[in-house]
């Protein structure tokens, strides 16, 4: 696993919790209401229990476990270690088992299932620290345990069946709904974050280097510095040993490559490359690095349009292999002026129609340049003709701000 992948995962984790605090506090409050409600139900049925010890033990275990999870999640800053999650889940299973044993022998077991409902809903506390799939499978696990016990207890016998189904739905659906809503919230935040981060690339000069490449160059410089100073102060004897000589050669090659390669990236290449979401859906063909000639406003508009097109693609999830392709032609001298050059940009959106594209896209394209759209057999094709300051002479590499 490369450092880049690790770094990306770490930043993904860091950004996954953005804005979740408020949502989490809200769900905790809702859970507290549910607990009060279910506790009132327990009290109401108190005469029906042969023995009240199991059900009250269950309440005590649930309250302690939930309180502990709330505190830990808060203290660790939206983080929950795996072993603690497992321990907590075991406590929830115990609570449900106690509740089921308390109702053993009752004519309609689902009707007296109270603390178990709270235990199932408690899983929403893990929404901020666990993925949607994990939380939902945990909820299904609890429901399965309960359902299995009810088969033995006669919960699925004829007169009890509606009540049993009702209670199982109550166990599953609130958690499912909460998990799905949190999932879309998280997706929205991830998309917003990536768009925001990708927009930071538009201020780059005509040709630029990524953050990572820049750090790499600094590292190589440092390695060269230590090698050279070792040679200078005689710590390494001349002529050098075979191994050190090879290291020097390797360093020179890498340094040379870095000094050359880093000049070939445009802001657009960087913005797309550094965004996982965008790089899945968009490909750029820009052999002459023309994208670098666009002004700041044109860049911002183009990037916003790409994000809107990306949204349209993720909503209609057909054939994910069909990428949006942006091809940049090399700049040509615009007619009758030396100060501007013309760049033709072609945006191909396969499998799309004008109706499906967000109206905002056209607004953004209009800010990039004059555009013409056409529908061919494969989808939309948009040709943008934009004027940029000529790259040579005083305006070279400058972007209007």
């Amino acid at each position: 696993m490369t450092a880049a992948v690790l770094a990306e995962r770490a930043s993904g984790r860091r950004h996954a919790a953005i804005g979740m605090r408020r949502l989490w506090v809200g769900t905790t409050v809702i859970l507290a209401f549910q607990i009060v409600f279910d506790f009132a139900n327990t009290i109401e049925r108190i005469d029906a229990y042969r023995d009240t010890v199991p059900v009250f033990t269950a309440w005590a275990v649930l309250l302690i476990a939930d309180a502990a999870i709330v505190v830990v999640t808060r203290v660790l800053g939206e983080h929950l270690p795996n072993w603690l999650f497992a321990l907590w889940y075991a406590a929830l299973v115990l609570v449900i088992a106690l509740d089921l044993s308390a109702a053993w022998g009752m004519p309609n077991p689902a009707d007296s299932f109270t603390v178990g409902l709270s235990a199932a809903l408690s899983l929403v506390l893990a929404l901020v620290t666990r993925s949607t799939v994990q939380v939902f499978s945990a909820a299904i696990g609890l429901a399965l345990v309960t359902a299995a016990a009810w088969i033995l207890m006669g919960g699925f016998a004829e007169p009890n069946l509606p009540e049993t189904v009702y209670t199982l739905c109550q166990m599953l659906f609130p958690v499912l709904v909460a998990a799905l809503i949190t999932g879309s919230f998280r997706r929205l935040m991830r998309r917003e974050t990536e768009e925001m981060l990708s927009h930071s690339a538009i201020a780059a000069p005509r040709l630029t280097v990524g953050i990572e490449a820049s750090e790499q160059l600094a590292r190589l410089d440092l390695a060269a510095e230590s090698l050279l100073s070792a040679v200078a102060d005689g710590r390494m004897r001349l002529p050098l040993s075979e191994e050190v000589a090879r290291r020097a050669g390797g360093l020179a090659t890498e340094l040379r490559l870095h000094l050359l390669e880093s000049r070939s990236k445009t802001w657009l290449g960087l913005a797309i490359e550094e965004s996982t979401l965008l790089s899945e859906k968009v490909r750029v063909e820009d052999p002459s690095s023309s994208a670098g000639l666009l002004g700041t406003r044109q860049r911002a508009a183009l990037l916003s349009a790409l994000w809107l097109l990306h949204d349209e693609r993720s909503v209609s999830s057909r054939s994910p292999q069909q990428q949006i392709v942006l091809s940049f032609a090399s700049p040509t001298r615009a007619i009758e002026t030396d100060h501007f050059e013309a760049i033709a940009i072609r945006v191909e959106v396969p499998g799309s129609t004008r109706m499906m594209i967000d109206p905002g896209v056209w607004e953004h394209f209009a800010r990039v340049g004059r555009y013409r759209e056409a529908l061919d057999g494969l989808g939309m094709r948009i040709d943008i003709h934009c004027l940029v300051p000529a790259p040579r002479g005083p305006a070279r590499g400058r972007t209007d701000s």
């Binding site: 739905c169 929205l188 917003e192 974050t193 000069p205 200078a232 050098l240 020097a248 050669g249 000094l259």
Partner: protein
């Protein structure tokens, strides 16, 4: 702000759809238990449920209001059908109404909270549903069921509020992350620029490293040490962010001043190649004003060519002729060495295609190469003034 609202509304609609669908599934699952299979009401309600499912699934589309209203209407009709088509009171139908009116309806109406006065329409719709439920429920259970339904409506409202109020602070947080990232990128960009602008420095470092890679053979040990010391010092200065003023003992001076005379710098290149065993003979003008970036690239190109002469030509003398007119500065690097077939050797192998040609082209200049076996080599470099 407008964008924030669009995103908030979309999220609300997504939530409403999931919430509404879940309520419908639960309601139908309860109703579909064998106890109600004998009822006409159950079979009548099935198409209505299908309709309600369609409405809930469409909540995410553009006409949210219409679909939410449709779902409410379906739910009310289902309630009345369950209550009146089969006259005898049935526990199952009563149970099925709770998720229908307490979760599916308020869940779907949650989408209305995105609109102005949405809460008003939300509660109007919810209360209509609860009212229908109150009519349908047997009097004995009426109070409890109505209370539970109202709780359900309150819960959906709370969820909707929570969702819509979470978005603006979250987006502000995102903007903050974006600002921090922009600053980080700007810093990294500057750093990269600083390092890349120090091309002359990197150029000499590369040359020294290449010598070291050949274990430093063929060069006097003292000269190599001296060169390594200078390079290490300059790298250190670059790392610490100090200005790259040349050391007193340094043989070359990558000066970072606005305009530099070519003369002193050309001298430093000559001295360096002297140390490496290549005699460089200058001709033509030695005082040329060039902007620092262009000068750097120009000098880099010249020294790269001289390095090629040193390595491949087999002779120890190279001529560099500098000429200028009002538009361009030209340098001609000539040697009388063994030469080569230009077409036979790939440009990459010469190592100058990328390094020299690309850098000069970036400045609007050019590099051309003339050679044939036994007749020496000439490289013509041009940069605009």
């Amino acid at each position: 702000m407008d964008q924030i609202q669009v995103k908030r509304d979309r999220l609300l609609r997504q939530g409403a759809r999931v919430y509404g669908l879940a309520g419908l599934v639960a309601s139908f699952a309860i109703l579909a238990t064998p106890g109600s299979w004998g009822l006409l009401a159950f079979w009548t309600a099935i198409p209505l449920y299908v309709l309600a499912f369609v409405c809930a699934a469409m909540l995410q589309s553009r006409r949210t209001l219409r679909w939410a209203g449709g779902l409410l209407a379906c739910a009310i009709v289902i309630t009345l059908v369950l209550a009146f088509v089969s006259p005898e009171p049935n526990r199952t139908t009563g149970q099925a109404l709770v998720p229908l009116l307490g979760a599916a309806v308020p869940g779907a109406l949650m989408a209305l909270l995105a609109y102005r006065l949405g809460w008003f329409w939300y509660w109007l719709g919810c209360l209509a549903g609860v009212g229908a439920g109150a009519i349908a429920i047997t009097p004995a259970n009426r109070l409890v069921v109505v209370a539970i339904l109202l709780l359900g409506c309150g819960l959906a409202h709370a969820v909707g509020y929570l969702l819509s109020s979470s978005i603006p602070p979250a987006l502000r947080q995102v903007a903050e992350v974006g600002r921090a990232h922009r600053a980080e990128r700007r810093a990294s960009e500057l750093e990269a620029h600083r390092r890349q602008n120090a091309r002359l420095l990197h150029d000499t470092v590369l040359a020294t490293l290449t010598l070291l890679a050949h274990s430093g053979r063929g060069v006097s040990e003292e000269a190599l040490r001296e060169q390594a010391r200078n390079d290490a010092h300059l790298l250190r200065q670059l790392r610490l962010g100090e200005p790259l003023f040349a050391l007193p003992e340094a043989g070359y001076r990558p000066e970072l001043v606005e305009e530099t005379t070519l003369g002193t710098t050309l001298d430093s290149v000559k001295q360096r190649f002297d140390q490496l065993g290549l005699d460089v003979s200058w001709h033509g003008s030695a005082r040329i004003m060039l902007p620092p970036g262009v000068l750097d690239a120009f000098l880099f190109a010249i020294s790269e060519c001289l390095e090629n002469v040193r390595r491949h030509s087999g002779v120890v003398l190279a001529h560099v002729t500098i000429t200028e007119d009002e538009r361009v500065v030209r340098a001609m690097v000539t040697d009388a060495g063994r030469g080569f077939e230009v077409d036979a050797v790939g440009n990459e192998r010469l190592g100058i295609k990328e390094s020299v040609v690309a850098r000069l082209a970036e400045l609007g200049g050019s590099a051309r190469l003339f050679s044939s076996p036994g007749a020496g080599t000439t490289v013509l470099l041009e940069v605009p003034r």
